[in-house]
């Protein structure tokens, strides 16, 4: 039974932490992709393309088994966290960027015409409108991230999916175990969806 709890807590912790990390790094990358400096834009674009075109499992294997060989040693959980957060950051960056781009260019021009500086127009005109539009895409990324944390089980983190597989070996009650775990994922996704709706109403 403690295995169930450990798996569940690991999945929840991994989801929350890596989403926070992904939003942090993703915002940074989104800024890189928007600023009017060609070099930084290129760096942002390369980051996004490289991370999202290679499977997460390949990243996890590379990080978990590869990093120790170049002298970077971290606990397993934190290695998995790093790989998942950096991977999902690429998707967060794209969501944020398209949110900012979806604000009509007339809005920015109007703000400039009224004499607002660039930071002011971003802060008071563009970002408030963009934030409303990125809630739903970000919630979708959070749900995808919840599913993605299952892959950490493959490289050794005892998450919910991995725990289910191990318990099933002992209990031999597959239907019960796997439906239960499936339900846990459904509940987590429902929670994220609910949070997103609340946030959306707050921003509206």
């Amino acid at each position: 039974m403690s295995l169930v709890l450990e798996g569940f807590l690991n999945t929840v912790a991994l989801t929350l932490l890596s989403f926070a990390g992904a939003v942090l790094v993703g915002s940074l990358v989104a800024v890189l992709r928007i600023v009017p400096v060609p070099l930084l834009r290129a760096v942002g674009a390369v980051y996004v393309e490289v991370w999202r075109n290679i499977p997460l499992l390949a990243w996890l294997v590379l990080f978990v088994f590869g990093l120790p060989e170049v002298g970077v040693k971290m606990p397993l959980f934190w290695t998995a966290f790093t790989a998942i957060a950096l991977y999902e950051a690429a998707f967060v960056a794209e969501a944020l960027r398209s949110g900012v781009n979806s604000v009509a260019s007339g809005q920015g021009e109007a703000a400039r015409a009224l004499g607002l500086t660039v930071p002011q127009s971003l802060r008071h005109v563009v970002l408030p409108q963009a934030s409303r539009r990125v809630v739903q895409p970000l919630a979708n990324i959070a749900i995808a991230l919840t599913m993605a944390t299952a892959l950490a089980g493959v490289v050794g983190v005892v998450d919910m999916t991995r725990a289910a597989q191990r318990i099933n070996l002992e209990l031999a009650q597959p239907l019960l175990v796997f439906t239960g775990v499936g339900l846990c994922y459904l509940v987590m996704a429902a929670g994220i969806g609910y949070g997103a709706r609340v946030l959306e109403r707050r921003f509206a």
């Binding site: 600023v35 060989e69 400039r112 994922y185």
Partner: protein, 255 residues
């Protein structure tokens, strides 16, 4: 969104570029030093990846990856079409469940649960069936969005010309819907290709699993998986590039 840059602004951009280039070069140098310290940059450790037998093995893996992705794509598209054509409580629940349950869980069901009920599929299908079940929901969303993206006026115009309903769907709505969907379908192919890396778990000899076998054999872990990652990157970048081109040509021909 911003005004045309003046001289002061251009100077600032220049300085930012110089500083960030320096920082970037520093980071790359740091990374390379870390690699070199572990002896990971030695030519000996990379030379195998210039030889044909190794590449043939990896490319065989890539072939299996593409095969699995193709089979999954066909099955999932068929399932997605069924789901999209019959929107009811069951199909909506199915899509919702598949959007939230990890594919890995389905793979484990295939690997550890179904055999005890006497269902023991070959490895290929143990990978393809869970992927198809999961991706069918994504395809359904794409199909529905594609059909809804065609203006209702198009259907109405067809009907008012006296065409039967089936003819309108076949010759008026679907051709336009397909054109709208194509870029999304290519993007979906990237995600499919990435998901076949679960063959690593199933022991199906696709690209990532072959990388694992190779790394176990020659002990060149970092080199092997970097090369494998590079192959994924090239293939998926090509697909993404195709999607962008399709999107651009769609935008040009629209209306």
């Amino acid at each position: 969104m911003f005004d045309a840059p003046g001289p002061r602004f251009r100077r600032r951009v220049l300085w930012t570029s110089v500083v960030s280039a320096a920082v970037l070069a520093g980071l790359v140098a740091l990374g390379l030093r870390q690699f070199a310290a572990g002896g990971q940059l030695d030519a000996d450790r990379w030379r195998p990846y210039l030889t044909w037998p190794i590449w043939r093995y990896l490319l065989e893996g890539l072939g299996s990856t593409v095969l699995a992705a193709g089979a999954t794509g066909v099955l999932a598209a068929a399932g997605g079409l069924l789901l999209a054509l019959r929107p009811n409580r069951f199909t909506r629940a199915y899509a919702e469940i598949m959007r939230t349950v990890p594919v890995l869980l389905l793979v484990y069901v295939m690997l550890f649960v179904l055999p005890s009920f006497g269902v023991n599929l070959p490895l290929f299908w143990k990978l393809v069936v869970p992927l198809a079940l999961s991706h069918a929901a994504s395809y359904a969303v794409i199909f529905r969005a594609g059909v809804e993206s065609v203006e209702p006026g198009q259907r109405e115009a067809g009907l008012s010309l006296g065409m039967p309903d089936g003819v309108v769907t076949r010759f008026v709505v679907l051709p336009q819907a397909v054109r709208h969907m194509t870029p999304l379908l290519v993007t979906q192919a990237v995600s499919l290709l990435k998901d076949t890396s679960l063959g690593y778990v199933v022991s199906y000899t696709e690209l990532l699993f072959n990388g694992r076998v190779l790394a176990n054999y020659n002990g060149l872990l970092i080199q092997t998986f970097l090369v494998v990652a590079f192959v994924y990157l090239v293939v998926n970048l090509a697909l993404s590039w195709l999607a962008r081109r399709l999107e651009a040509s769609r935008a040009r021909t629209a209306r």
